[in-house]
């Protein structure tokens, strides 16, 4: 008799807890009129403190001021971002869950393996950061210009070592493409991440590295590292002396973008709302200052521009797999 009372008590407790727990009813229609009525969650598919995370937090804190409701960063790292992207793709498209994607990683993952998300599962909102690729060597390196570098490589095939953040990762692709276009033969040395790859360069263990400008800007300014060339259309804002690979005759554009997207099916009004507010947040002085301090190059892209960019990235990556041998 006592036992059944206890079980009844337990059940009542559980049910009442369930009742006041968060309602995740997936059948309720999505309300666009009073958006937002509660917190907006932004999924960042990488660890706290990392590049994507820092950028996301800076933007989120500005956007929060404009929107009036908390914009909360949720870190969901794992499987090089696949975990976070999948969660974003599967989230309820009501505008309360959005997220950052990294390009090209968002696309390259789908080409490398059977991901649990597809590129079409998300809806572009806007692009935030565009981090250009650059070729860097040590500050006291013998290579003063990109020509020196290429000439040496041609005369000494395989001697130049270029560190990257993992075989098949974006920096490796950039380096391999450069190797192909320049007609040289270098040795790629994979490391576990961009911090490790740059540490190896700074310690003099490798000759060069292909990195993102945000990671090396401060080091280039202090003289620890020297940028030989950038993988961009035009010369970099803060590094006007650095030539682009394009002007030297090597047509390679490479960089990583960090964009804000929503799960597919999010109502257009909500996307527009989010777009307008985040864009305005990006344009505030406070945001630009923080971004500058964190060496994050901001480059806005509209939803349609972003959509095109994603498609182009996919085409690029698919094409490149054909003629680049990434297995060293």
């Amino acid at each position: 008799m006592k036992k059944s009372i206890l079980v009844l008590l337990a059940l009542t407790l559980v049910l009442s807890l369930a009742a006041c727990g968060d309602s995740n009813s997936s059948d309720a229609p999505i309300n666009t009129a009073n958006f937002p009525e509660k917190n907006i969650e932004v999924i960042v598919a990488y660890k706290a403190g990392g590049g994507t995370d820092v950028g996301a937090r800076i933007l989120a804190s500005e956007a929060e001021k404009l929107i009036g409701k908390p914009v909360v960063i949720i870190n969901r790292d794992g499987s090089d971002g696949e975990l976070g992207y999948t969660e974003l793709a599967k989230a309820r498209p009501d505008g309360y869950t959005i997220g950052f994607i990294n390009l090209p990683t968002f696309v390259s993952l789908t080409l490398e393996r059977n991901t649990q998300y597809a590129i079409g599962d998300v809806e572009p909102i806007l692009n935030h950061v565009y981090d250009a690729g650059v070729l860097v060597v040590q500050g006291n390196s013998d290579f003063a210009t990109i020509e020196d570098f290429i000439n040496f490589a041609k005369e000494n095939p395989g001697d130049i070592t270029i560190s990257n953040n993992g075989t098949g990762a974006s920096n490796h692709i950039g380096a391999a493409h450069f190797e192909y276009e320049a007609g040289i033969d270098v040795t790629h040395v994979p490391f576990g991440g961009s911090t490790d790859m740059l540490a190896a360069l700074r310690g003099g263990h490798v000759t060069a590295s292909v990195a993102k400008i945000s990671e090396v800007a401060a080091l280039a300014n202090s003289g620890d590292l020297r940028i030989l060339a950038s993988f961009t259309e035009n010369r970099l804002e803060n590094f006007k002396d650095v030539p682009t690979l394009k002007e030297k005759g090597y047509d390679i554009l490479f960089g990583s973008a960090r964009a804000l997207v929503a799960p597919k099916g999010t109502p257009q009004e909500i996307i527009d709302y989010l777009h307008d507010n985040f864009k305005a947040a990006m344009e505030t002085e406070s945001h630009m200052e923080k971004a500058n301090n964190a060496d994050l190059p901001i480059m806005y892209m509209s939803p349609s521009e972003l959509g095109d960019y994603i498609v182009n990235e996919e085409a690029y990556l698919k094409g490149i797999g054909e003629f680049l041998d990434l297995t060293n």
Partner: protein, 499 residues
């Protein structure tokens, strides 16, 4: 010099003191719960620190970091389940002490040793940061390879019962560490068709399984103790003068080692704590006492792992190279506040930085005070009856394994390793050896393969640098010392017996 003094004055401001005290408290709690890690605590604190001025934010982050590193020892000692992976070595002698009724002594030792670790590393922070930072950069793939070899020789040291079984455990750990992506080629190895294993076995979940869940099973197989542990918690005065004398040299030496290990990116508290444990044997005449519950065995690992906190800050602040996951997050926190690592931190932002350093010292002092004060309350946990410990530890293990990467597969891995860990214990294998090999395996493998890639397959490249030779010598010594000591003692015995 003025910055240093300014730093101390600023750190003693009320807001900073409160931040230090609260964050250490939070850190200790987070660290002591099996499953919650220092990195998790720091990551969760970051949004809260946004509204704060830079120094306060940094002090708060340091508080959680140091507190958590120490807090892990509490559950390691009382429940044989390390709260953080860096406390795994503390459990080896800590738990037997609890069983002997000396939980208070063990906890007090851990507190004092952790404090020593933090203080020694802060001295390094103030004085030789640039030198240590340069040293950190000099560690390339070849050096990391030899570091892992040295680490692996410690496995022999941790195997008190059977050397062969210890080695088998280590080898098993090495095999398990190959699961995941090949680090050079990017192709999957042994993932048994599960995408979740692409990054390898989830380390913390595996550790939680091997130590915490196996402990749950070990409790469940025997008669459940109702209240008090094996013996009454008998000590009132937790630690006496003689014991303090014993743990001081151990703590100082392990702290120095921990600081150096901390500066190396990729080598963290866990490795340091095992080295610290191994080093503590130097200070005990009768080597067989290790593992039975002696204070040196608790002081060594705890001093080392807390020394990692200060050590890891050095490359983070001077070079912008984070030593481990916690400092990576801290670095993000710095960047968000607009502070760039490098010489600027010590000049332009000198006031902020030195306030931070002073705050780091304050944090350690608070940790000591809080720890010693709370020892008698912590020790009461050992009186909780087994039937309550069993489900509680297990649920914490589950959420702890899940919360790291929000991946439920990690929980399944934890469960499997919990069962494996149970049999490891029963068959006299060695969980600590498995864990050490799991960490060191990848470091050694990547070090070796990178060196070969960089030098076109030339094995001689492994012997090129001074640091490599130093590490090789240390490794050889570490291997031979027990053997030499045995021969030496035998000879000594013969002489004394008038041979």
């Amino acid at each position: 010099m003025d910055n240093v003094l300014y730093g101390f004055m600023a750190a003693f401001q009320i807001t900073n003191l409160i931040a230090a005290l609260l964050s250490v408290g939070v850190g200790i709690v987070v660290g002591s719960l099996p499953g919650l890690s220092a990195a998790m605590g720091v990551a969760l604190l970051i949004p809260i620190t946004f509204g704060m001025p830079a120094e306060t934010a940094l002090i708060a982050l340091a508080g959680v970091y140091c507190g958590a590193m120490y807090g892990g020892s509490i559950s390691a000692i009382l429940l044989h389940t390390p709260g953080t992976s860096s406390a795994a070595a503390t459990a080896i002698d800590g738990y037997p002490m609890t069983l002997k009724g000396e939980a208070g002594k063990a906890l007090a030792t851990a507190t004092i040793a952790s404090f020593t670790g933090g203080m020694v590393s802060s001295v390094a922070l103030y004085t030789i940061s640039p030198i240590l930072a340069t040293l950190a950069l000099k560690f390339g793939p070849a050096e990391y390879f030899w570091l892992s070899i040295f680490g692996l020789t410690i496995i022999a040291g941790v195997s008190s019962k059977s050397m062969l079984k210890g080695l088998i455990s280590g080898a098993l750990g090495l095999v398990l560490s190959t699961i995941g992506m090949d680090p050079m080629l990017g192709v999957p190895r042994f993932i048994f068709g599960s995408n979740a294993l692409l990054r390898g076995l989830p380390f913390t979940a595996t550790l939680i399984g091997l130590f915490s869940m196996s402990q749950v099973l070990l409790l469940a197989e025997k008669h459940l103790r109702k209240g008090v542990q094996a013996k009454e918690v008998k000590d009132k005065v937790h630690i006496d003068k003689d014991e303090l004398k014993r743990i001081t040299p151990v703590s100082l030496w392990s702290a120095a080692i921990g600081t150096v290990v901390g500066i190396l990116p990729g080598a963290g508290g866990t490795i340091a704590s095992f080295i610290g444990y191994n080093e503590s044997k130097r200070f005990v005449k009768d080597k067989s006492l290790h593992g039975t519950g002696i204070i040196e065995g608790v002081a060594g690992p705890e001093a080392a792992n807390n020394a990692v906190t200060g050590g890891s800050l050095i490359p983070t602040l001077t070079l912008g190279i984070p030593g481990n996951s916690v400092t990576a997050i801290l670095l993000g926190g710095l960047v968000i506040q607009g502070l760039r690592p490098g010489p600027d931190l010590f000049t332009i932002h000198g006031q902020t930085t030195y306030t931070f350093f002073a705050g780091f010292v304050v944090v350690n002092i608070f940790m000591l005070m809080l720890g010693l004060f709370a020892v008698r309350y912590f020790a009461k946990v050992s009186k909780v009856q087994d039937s309550i410990l069993i489900p509680i530890i297990f649920t914490l293990s589950v959420i702890g394994s899940y919360a790291i990467s929000n991946n439920f597969t990690d929980v399944y891995v934890m469960f499997i390793f919990g069962i494996i860990g149970y049999f490891v214990k029963k068959l006299n294998l060695n969980s600590a050896a498995i864990v050490l090999a799991l960490i060191l395996g990848p470091i050694g493998e990547t070090g070796l393969r990178r060196t070969l890639i960089m030098n076109k397959g030339n094995y001689l490249a492994l012997f090129n640098s001074t640091i490599s030779w130093v590490l090789i010598s240390i490794a050889v010594l570490s291997l031979l010392t027990p053997a030499i000591m045995a021969i030496f003692n035998k000879r000594k015995g013969k002489i004394e017996n008038g041979d």
